[in-house]
Amino acid sequence: MPLLDIRNLTIELDTPRGRVKALERVCLTINPGELHGLVGESGSGRSLLARAILGVPGHNWTVTADRMMWDGQNLMEMSSKQRRNLMGSEIAMIFQDPTSSLDPAISVGSQIIEAMPTNKSLPFWKRGKFKKKTAEKWLHKVGIKNTEKVMESYAWELSEGECQKVMIAMAVANQPRLLIADEPTDSMELSTQAQIFRLLSKLNQLQNVSILLISHELDTLAGWCDQLTVLYCGQVMESGPTAELLKRPFHPYTEALIDNAPDYSGELAHKSMMQTLPGSAPALQHLPIGCRLGPRCPQAQKKCVSQPSLCHKKDRYFACHFPYHNESCNDDTST
């Protein structure tokens, strides 16, 4: 049984110019112990999806889904209190801006201690000390050496990388089963990025935490993830095991992403144009009907004005009327 199973999730935003479907019929399946990558351009609705899974919607959202199952329980039917109980203990999330995700007015240490699980078997006067011990242990595990100093300081006294490690420690201390990492290495230098990714994949292997890793860099995700889901403009383009997906993409968008990745072999002529799809991603107010890639797609035909349903071929999913390699389509939405 998959840990998280989402079918046809649609998020509509109320804007001054009417309702906009920011996410349209998104499907996502995460198996236990899987490192799942979610790749997409900025504005493609990756963070919306993450927040919808976690259950912290914005005030102008309308979330509808055919199915949104967490380990056999229906997330759509839960009360907000049940969702809140699930957060932190089962599903945890780390955000893209770690420094501002920590309260500036109290020290980092007291926030970590607050996030630690309470040991109910101890008498209440020993619990505080136990929490402090666990906090130090987890800080050690995420690779912070001078725990005392970090716990005494305020968020703005630490570097981005340290703050993100603190956030990860807080997220994983309650032993969640799914960790959503929303661009965890945004605005960090490469060596810190590598540290964070190593830490996440180590957690995945040692603690068997499923991780949903959200990023815009296909090549980074390709290096770390078992499964990839490609999102464009609020629609799922393609999803499947990383190696297969990169080797034989079915969807024109995935193909374009792989082709457009700059290769550093030096064969690119000086000042030549980088290869991209024509045009740019549409704004939310001017979304094309049907497949949203339509106007930019090299394969597009008349049929593309109706949205293709997610087809499924073994363990791969794609949403395209004219896939590469002439795959026959098994309509998955009816199952």
Partner: protein, 343 residues
């Protein structure tokens, strides 16, 4: 931090010096003989005249006179009151605690009611609750305090007869002043009536304290509400929610300490208005505090009392403004960061 505190101390001293300078210049323009305005002795003997001249160096130039004036005032010699012929400093010590008592009770009332109501207004999803609270605070903010005081004493004091409308305590009780705070002194006294005296003092403070608390209360509600609305959208609140903390914990532990910072800052800015409102309230309710003492001094052309009152009230305001700013920095680590960066 030490350097910052030194700079604040320096600010306090410099402002006080300017204040004394203004008072010195004003004193020389009072329409009476200068020595009379300085010492306040109505019919001085020859020795007192000579002593006054030497104390205030009235034969030297203006600058030396100013230095002498500063020295006398700072060392606590405020002259004698023209009307009562008692030292001004003694009268001041009698009236100051009454004012502090009223201000503290009003301040506690404003904070204890204002902060929770502000939080309620910001967290409430119900439009009617929000608008009701905002309407009440706007009304409270715009009511003139003298009218409010008179109306309250008319309703609750005269027509309903629930509460006394003047003084600190019924004249029947004789309470030995120890701390000067009537609420504490009644409890400390050895009299067998001390409990009923305490209750009587409580009844006396209700109306003036409520009248004085209305303005800071409305300001606290509005500032708390706007600060909370802003803070509840911050990323760290969302992160705390994502960690599964309860809404109550988030509000109390993360939002409130951050929202308290602008509230504290605005209280510092409001201090001058608060002090002038306190004077009006003291006059309306005949509260024997520094305000009514100063106002009666002005009516009686009591020049030494005017000087002493203005000096003490202004010094207290300067001190507390700076104290609140220091507190603000102690509570707010972010502004500490700016101080470090400035050095």
């Amino acid at each position: 931090m030490g350097r910052y505190l030194l700079r604040r101390l320096n600010l306090f001293l410099a402002t006080s010096l300017v204040l004394i300078g203004v008072l010195f210049i004003a004193t020389s323009h009072f329409p009476v003989e200068q020595q009379y305005a300085l010492t306040g002795i109505a019919s001085p003997t020859a020795e007192q005249l000579a002593l006054g001249r030497s104390e205030y160096k009235l034969d030297s130039n203006q600058f030396r006179q100013f230095l002498a004036y500063t020295e006398q005032r700072v060392s606590g010699n405020l002259g004698v009151s023209i009307t009562s012929q008692k030292p001004v400093i003694d009268e001041l010590i009698q009236v100051l605690p009454a004012s502090f008592e009223l201000a503290i009770v009003a301040g506690i009332l404003a904070m204890c009611l204002g902060v929770p109501l502000g939080i309620l207004a910001s967290l409430s999803k119900n439009k009617i609750t929000q608008h009701t609270i905002m309407a009440i605070t706007l009304t409270g903010y715009s009511i003139p305090v003298f009218w409010l005081g008179l109306t309250l004493s008319l309703w609750f004091g005269v027509e309903l007869g629930w509460l006394p409308i003047s003084g600190r305590i019924n004249l029947l009780y004789e309470i030995e002043p120890v701390t000067g705070f009537m609420l504490i002194d009644t409890l400390l006294s050895q009299s067998i009536y001390r409990i009923s005296a305490f209750l009587d003092a409580m009844q006396h403070i209700v109306l003036p304290a409520i009248t004085l608390a209305v303005l800071p209360f409305t300001v606290v509600v509005r500032i708390t509400r706007s600060a909370m609305l802003h803070i509840m959208n911050e990323p760290y609140i969302r992160a705390a929610e994502a960690r599964g903390l309860h809404t109550g914990t988030i509000v109390l532990r993360h939002a409130l300490p951050n929202a308290f910072i602008p509230v504290l800052k605005n209280m510092g800015l409001m201090l001058g208005t608060f002090a002038s409102y306190a004077m009006i309230v003291e006059v309306i309710f005949s509260w024997p505090g520094v305000g009514s003492w100063l106002v009666s001094g002005i009516y009686q052309r009591d020049y030494t009392v005017i000087q002493g009152g203005v000096l003490s009230v202004a010094l207290i305001i300067i001190f507390f403004s700076i104290f609140i700013e220091v507190l603000h920095n102690a509570f707010n680590p972010i502004s500490r960061k700016e101080i470090y960066a400035a050095n």
